[in-house]
Amino acid sequence: MNTKTMNGGAHEALVKRPPTDLELMMFVDGELEGERLREVRQAILRDSVLKSKVAALELSSEVVRESAEEAGAKFDFADAIMAKITEVPSAELDARDAAPEPARKVAEVAPIVRPGLGKTTAHTGPSNDNARGIFALAAIAVAAAAGLMIWGRMDTDVPRPESAPVAMVATEAAPVPAPTPEEHAAAPSADEGDSVGVEVAAVDFGSRIGTIFYVPTEAATSNHTTTVVWLADDPVGGEQ
């Protein structure tokens, strides 16, 4: 009983509390709900002052709504903002911004037909100039390789006497070519009278390093030389 009494007292206090202006506005706007909506409605019905306030609020609300709807129909926020921006002078804007934007032309890819082939190929502009350079370098390299190959074949085609091994010859004063024995046997040199000394016909140093010297023996005006074959006693790659 005690609890019921307390609840009943609170309920009466809430009903007796007159609605505020905010609650009246919320009532007009339809924002009140539940028990408080019913209480406020009863209070308005009982009190003529409240009723007149509600009528005034409804009228003003209707006027505001109608004027807002009229203005909203004509008003565009985006246009208004852009117009406001253009009205404000900016230091960052310059002549380039004011200049008209050049017309951009989209590249046009059109197939072309090569005469005689009857095939459609993509048109290649001057953008492949690098490829031309690469082709030129490749052509030069191929020509150089061919030249080297021909030169090498010419070198190997020269007949060499088998009885004359290759010798490292160091000529100190008067170099004398080493003729082959076949040359001597078949056709003796016509200038034997001008001989400058001992001629090396053939030499095989084996695994050693050897040098042939032609040392002048007489006066500087004479061409006569002494032939010296000098070998290193240490063979290449160690003692055999």
Partner: protein
């Protein structure tokens, strides 16, 4: 008269074109005098060092020793001097101070086309070191009488051996 004239023509042709005749002058001379295909040579064995003793007076006149490559050594001592004869197919062997062996043989004799020129001797030489190792496998030279050639480089007692071969007239 016809036969002597024909003989003269043939003889002149053979003289002018010896190769065409199939018989070289040298071969003809070899056939006529095979005993002449022998040569005598003088061998000198020198020891080149840098001990500052100078050139041995017993070596004799040899101005080459003061010139490169001989001048890389300041002392030359005569170790051996000998004379050997050799002919085709008959090699001459000279024992060296390091117990190596120098073998020299005559390979050919080249007779000059002109009478006032000297013959040339094709001489082959090789050097075997002790133990069977080859120091110089082959050297073939073409020398006239009186000319000298050297073979050098073998290590010996702090220096090198220098072998001189002079073809005698």
């Amino acid at each position: 008269m016809r036969l002597p004239l024909f003989a003269l023509i043939v003889a002149a042709g053979m003289a002018l074109f010896p190769a065409a005749s199939g018989v070289s002058v040298a071969n003809a001379q070899e056939a006529a005098a095979p005993a002449k295909d022998a040569v005598s040579a003088e061998f000198v064995v020198l020891h080149a060092t840098n001990d500052g003793k100078g050139i041995d007076p017993k070596i004799g006149k040899m101005p080459e020793l003061g010139k490169p490559p001989f001048s890389s050594y300041n002392s030359y001592q005569l170790l051996d001097r000998s004379k050997q004869s050799f002919s085709k197919g008959n090699a001459s062997k000279i024992k060296l101070p390091n117990d190596g062996v120098l073998m020299v043989s005559l390979k050919d004799v080249i007779v000059p086309s002109k009478k006032d020129e000297a013959k040339r001797y094709v001489i082959s030489a090789s050097i075997q070191k002790p133990g069977g190792n080859t120091f110089l496998p082959l050297l073939e030279v073409n020398a006239k009488a009186g000319e000298t050639f050297f073979v050098a480089g073998q290590n010996y007692k702090g220096g090198v051996l220098v072998i001189g071969i002079k073809v005698n007239p």
